[in-house]
Structures are given as C-alpha cells and as structure tokens.
C-alpha cells in the first residue's frame, strides 16, 4: 500500500460559493434596511414634523414593547413553535401588579411580580407543549383566552389606577435626553437575544430543533428542555413588556394589550424568520421593528386613517415576503 498523495489538479473548490460581502448585500436584512431607509426618507419629505428628536422618541413607543416580545418569539418560531398568548399574558401580569399595588406594594415588588407572573405564564405554556407534547398553536390559543379571562374576572369593567410615581419611570422615563427607558430595554434585549441565538450552543440547538426536531433529538439535544426554556423566555419578555406598558398607561384594564400577539408575529415574520422554523436572525427582527414603527408613525403624522394604515402594513408584509421569491422565480426563467 503506497501513500496516497494528493496531486494538485489546478482546479480549486472554493470554501464559499458566494463571497461574504455579496451574501450580506443580498441578505434579507439588507433588503429590510433599504426598506427602512426608504421609509425614513419618504417620511422626512412627507411631513415637516418627522425629523424632530422628541417626535422620533415618541414614535419608538409604537414598537418597543412589541419588539421586546418579538425577540423571544423569534427564537420560539425558529424552533418551530409559536406563542399566541403573549398579549393575554401582559394583561394577566398587569392585573397581578395592579392587585399588589392596591394592596400597597412598592415599585420593586411590582416589578418582581410582573416578571414572576410572566415566567409563570411561560412555564404553563411550556409545560403543556414540552411535557405533554401538545401543539403550541392550540395550547396558546387556549391560554390566550385563559389569561385574559382571569383578568376580566378580577377587574370586570373596572380598572386599577394610582401606580406609585416611581413606577412610571419604566414606561414614561428618559435615560438620557430623548432616549427612553423602553428604548434602552429594547436595545439591551436585542443584544442579549442576538448573542444567545447567534453565538451560543443554545442558539445552535434552537436552529437544529427548528430544522429537524427528530434529528436534533438523535444528536443528543434535549428538545423538550430547550422548548420549555424558550416558552419561559417568551413569558419573561411578556412580563417586561407588561411592566413597561402598565407604567406607560399608568393603569390596568383587562383589555390591555389586545391584539399584541399578531403584531408581534408580524414583526417576527417581517424580520425574515421563517414561520416554518429553522431560519432567520435577530438583526432582521430589530430592523423589522423599526420598519413597523416608522411606517405607523409616519402614516400617523399624515393623519392616514388607521384602516388604510393596516392595509398598508399588510401590503408591506406580503410585499417584502413575496418580492424575493418572485425575483428568484423570474431569474430562473
């Protein structure tokens, strides 16, 4: 047996088919960034009030709370699950905080209760999905009614008001100049979720599960445990969003955050996360949140009726998702 020597053939197989730069330019994030920039420019031309730091600061409230949840939801959807109960979880967290406030609790206790209730909601969903193997869409449609139902039983058509002044800091406070507390929480959450999904083993496991849960299981990934943690994270982010929203509104009603779940999922899908699981990125979600915020605020400045606004947002969502697919179809012809 002779040593097999590799003889250079003169032809090389590139380790990447597309250069990193070209790939970045063609990526979903780049497309979204272009859309965001276009909307920003269009808004500044259309309304004289758009390019005002305070106005832009106010505009961030249109998306910060939803985007916080969207990061956790993105990971959940990458793993092939979904949580439609987030809006109702906010209502429940807010109601629990309201009860504690009525009993005389101070801000630190309120925050802990908000986070705790969020985690409990997430754990409940996670238990039903991961432990009992129920489909997440069914479970969370159920808990969507359940969580809000509890709030309605507690509150009826009354409201909790009179949160302590220090509690208002989360939703109405500024860290520095026009930078709101919510915006800072949003940014910190973006960085943490970005690192977790793209730079840790846990993140790789999430992708593996989303692409093929069975293969992931045979690779030694504890699929149920990862899913349970993802539901916990979504619950936790709902809790944080509930603290911000309750603080911003200064009151709790059982109808709080109605319809948030679909807006969160819209941001996630617009951000390029495949609804079938397995692909997408956190930077995409960040840009998608900005796009949604810019669009709704810009149209609001022009006093475009909300009905027309939702048509435009729907069109944007379908357009941004359909365009790349159409483009490849045309190029293949």
């Amino acid at each position: 047996m002779t040593d097999a020597t590799v003889t250079p053939t003169g032809r090389q197989i590139p380790d990447r088919l597309v250069s990193p730069l070209a790939r970045a330019l063609k990526s979903w994030e780049m497309l979204l960034l272009i859309v965001a920039a276009a909307i920003f420019i269009a808004n500044s031309l259309a309304s004289p009030y758009f390019l005002d730091p305070w106005n832009l600061s106010d505009a961030t409230f249109n998306f910060t709370e939803k985007a916080m949840i969207a990061f956790a939801m993105a990971m959940l959807i990458v793993a092939g699950e979904i949580d439609l109960s987030v809006g109702s979880a906010i209502a429940l967290c807010s109601t629990v905080m309201g009860l504690a406030m009525a009993a005389g609790a101070g801000t630190p206790v309120l925050v802990l209760l908000g986070l705790g209730t969020g985690l409990a909601c997430g754990a409940f969903n996670g238990l039903l999905v991961a432990r009992f193997g129920l489909p997440s869409i069914v479970v969370t449609i159920g808990t969507m009614s359940l969580f809000r139902g509890i709030s309605y039983i507690v509150l009826g058509d009354s409201a909790f008001t009179g949160y302590p002044a220090s509690f208002a800091w989360f939703g109405q406070g500024y860290v520095f100049w026009v930078i709101t507390v919510e915006l800072v929480i949003f940014a910190i959450a973006a960085v943490i979720f970005g690192i977790v999904l793209h730079r840790t083993n846990f993140g790789r496991m999430v992708y593996a599960i989303g692409n093929n849960a069975t293969a992931a299981r045979f690779s030694g990934i504890r699929v149920e445990r990862v899913k349970f943690i993802l539901f916990l994270l979504t619950g936790l982010m709902s809790g944080i969003a509930a603290i911000c929203l309750t603080s911003r509104l200064g009151s709790t009603r059982p109808s709080i955050a109605t319809g948030f779940e679909l807006e969160v999922v819209t941001i996630v899908v617009l951000g390029g996360i495949s609804i079938l699981g397995g692909s997408g990125s956190i930077p995409g979600v960040v840009i998608a949140a900005l796009v949604m915020g810019l669009v709704t605020f810009g149209l609001g400045l022009l006093n475009v009726p909300g009905i027309v606004m939702s048509i435009i947002v729907g069109g944007l969502l379908i357009g941004v998702i359909a365009l790349p697919r159409l483009w490849t179809m045309i190029r293949r012809r």
């Binding site: 309304s47 106005n55 109405q172 509104l249 009151s251 109808s255 955050a257 006093n303």
Partner: protein, 331 residues
C-alpha cells in the same frame, strides 16, 4: 459644481420645501379623536365638527382614531397629533385612565385637551363635555310622555336592572320633576334587565296590569325596542305610546308604525359641533376651563362647567317621524 455643493444645494432646497409646507398651515388645527373609525355615531360627530369649522373659519378639523377601540391605539394616534403640534385635541376616550399620561404630555407641550362623550380622568383634560345631564334626561323622558297625552293618563316605566346606576338616576330625576306634568300619573316601574325577552314580557305585563295605560317610558335602548314590539304585537298601537331613550336605527320601524311617537337620545352631530367649538375657544384663549366658567358653543348656546369641570351640552335630542329617516342610517 462639485458633488458636495450639489448635495448641499439639494439639502437646502429640501429644507426650504419643508419649511414652506410648515408655514402654509397657519389655520388652527383641532383634532377630533374618536374611539374607533368607521362607527356611524362618530362619523356624525365629525359632520358636526366640520360644520363648526366652517362656521368659525380658519379652522382645520383632523378627524382621526384607531381601527379598533383600544387605549393603546388611541395613544399612538395622540402621539402623532402631539408630534404635528396640533392646537387642540378633543377626544372620546377608550379608557378613562390609560390616556392620562399621554394627554398630560400633550398639555405640557401647549396643546388644549378636552374630552367629550366618553370622558378622561380630570388630570388628563381641561374639561369634559357630556351630551346631556341626568336632570335634563329625567325631565325629557316624562316630557315626551306628557307631550303626547293632552288629556293625561297613566304611564309606567320599563327600566333596565334594579342596580343600573344610569337608569336609577334618570328615574329619580324624572320623579323630582313629575309635579310639573300634573296630567301624567306614573303608576309603576318594572325591570326588564336590559334583556330583550324579559323586557318584552314586562311590557306585556304592564299592559295587562294597567288596562288604561297610555304610555310606557323606557330609558334604555333595549327596553324601548322590546316595549314597542310588545305594544305592536298586542294590537295597541295608538292606545299605548312608547317613549324613552333609544337608538334611531333600532327605533325607525316603530316610529313609522306609530308604536312610538317620539323618543330621545343625544345628537352626535351637535356633540361634535359643540366639542369643536369649545376646543376652539379654549385654544384661542377667549374662554377658560375652570369651575363655574361659561363657554359659548355657537348655535347650541353655551355650557357652564361644574365643580369637576364637566359640562352638559343640552337636552337629549328628540327623534320623531319627521327626522327619523335622516338619523337611522347614522347610528
């Protein structure tokens, strides 16, 4: 011409354009914020607001609101109005309390904020315009019964539940002024619990208990329809008149059949008109929102603010065969 100068010229032109469009808006801009767009009642209020704007001159009304009746949606709308630096915001609130922080911010930035129809907690607005007041409503419902009974006679009340705060207050106010209508004898009050079938049976019961009954007063939109139906089914149209508070769209048929000669409810057109008038005067500075102050509301006369800086616009508006068609398509 270098690229830099080109860019600078473009930027300068853009700035000039933006500044130009900002200067063009020297009208007073009043935003009429409603609970949700696409509701007939509020579309009618907008009609009134536009009427007020035309009458005042130099006023632009921005009619806006969220797609569904959420506080969060309304806050987004109000934020964008603050950003546009409108002169005044007149809001019918989806939530008494949740709008307060945002509306406070609006007032901090120099915007006149009032609420109308569905009010905001006092710290979030300068004043609240109610469509009417309990004494006016109490008086109106018995007056409607008396006006159609020249010879007088027995009337009965069909209310909602025994614990309905609104209805109880109105009936109490009605009893206070009953002495002004000596012809009319109020013989009893029954409760239909705001359920169509129970109200219907209670109305039937009234007609059996009091064979000489001349009118049924139902100060609830459910009860008035059920009573009118019961009168029609009993073949007593013309003998028993049904009146009270109802919605024109639901009552149109009964007014035409004669089961109800007239009934009352607020007029959304007048409400939008008055809210715009008040917002205009407060923003202009020729009226103040403080307890006891009076503010002119054009063709509607004037309103006086009470200790909670709330004001009642007028008597409930009377709907009868002459105007029911015009309003039944509105709300």
């Amino acid at each position: 011409m270098s690229i830099l100068t080109k860019a600078l010229t473009t930027a300068a032109m853009a700035t000039a354009l933006i500044a130009g469009s900002a200067q063009a808006q020297d009208d007073m801009r009043i935003a009429l914020v409603v609970k949700a767009l696409g509701i007939g009642f509020f579309e009618a209020a907008n009609k009134g607001a536009q009427e007020a704007a035309a009458e005042l001159g130099g006023v632009e009304v921005i009619y806006t609101g969220p797609t569904d009746t959420t506080a969060e949606g309304q806050i987004e709308v109000i934020n964008s109005l603050i950003a546009q630096r409108v002169d005044a915001i007149a809001v019918s609130a989806n939530d008494t309390d949740a709008l307060v922080p945002t509306l406070k911010k609006a007032m901090d930035r120099g915007i006149t904020v009032i609420s109308w129809d569905s009010g905001v907690a006092p710290e979030g607005r300068l004043m609240q315009l109610n469509p009417s007041s309990s004494p006016l409503i109490g008086n109106m419902i018995i007056k409607l019964a008396a006006d159609n009974l020249p010879e007088g006679g027995e009337v009965a009340v069909l209310s909602a539940t025994t614990t309905s705060t609104n209805q109880n207050t109105w009936i109490e106010e009605m009893n206070k002024v009953a002495g002004n209508y000596p012809n009319v004898k109020v013989v009893g009050t029954v409760y239909g619990d705001d359920l169509a079938d129970k109200s219907y049976r209670e109305a039937q019961g009234l007609m059996q208990t009091y064979p000489d009954l001349k009118a049924i007063i139902a100060p609830t939109s459910v009860g008035i329809v059920a009573a009118a139906q019961a009168v029609t089914d009993a073949g007593k149209v013309g003998q028993v008149n049904v009146t009270g508070l109802g919605l024109p769209s639901e009552m149109a048929g009964h007014v035409k059949s004669g089961a109800s000669k007239s009934f009352a409810i607020w007029n959304p057109i007048d409400l939008g008109y008055s809210a715009t008038m008040i917002a205009y005067h407060l923003a202009k500075g020729d009226a103040k929102a403080e307890p006891g102050a009076t503010i002119s509301i054009g063709r509607m006369g004037e309103v006086t603010l009470d200790d909670n800086t709330e004001a009642a616009m007028a008597d409930p508006f009377v709907y009868d065969a002459s105007n029911i068609d015009a309003f039944s398509s509105i709300f």
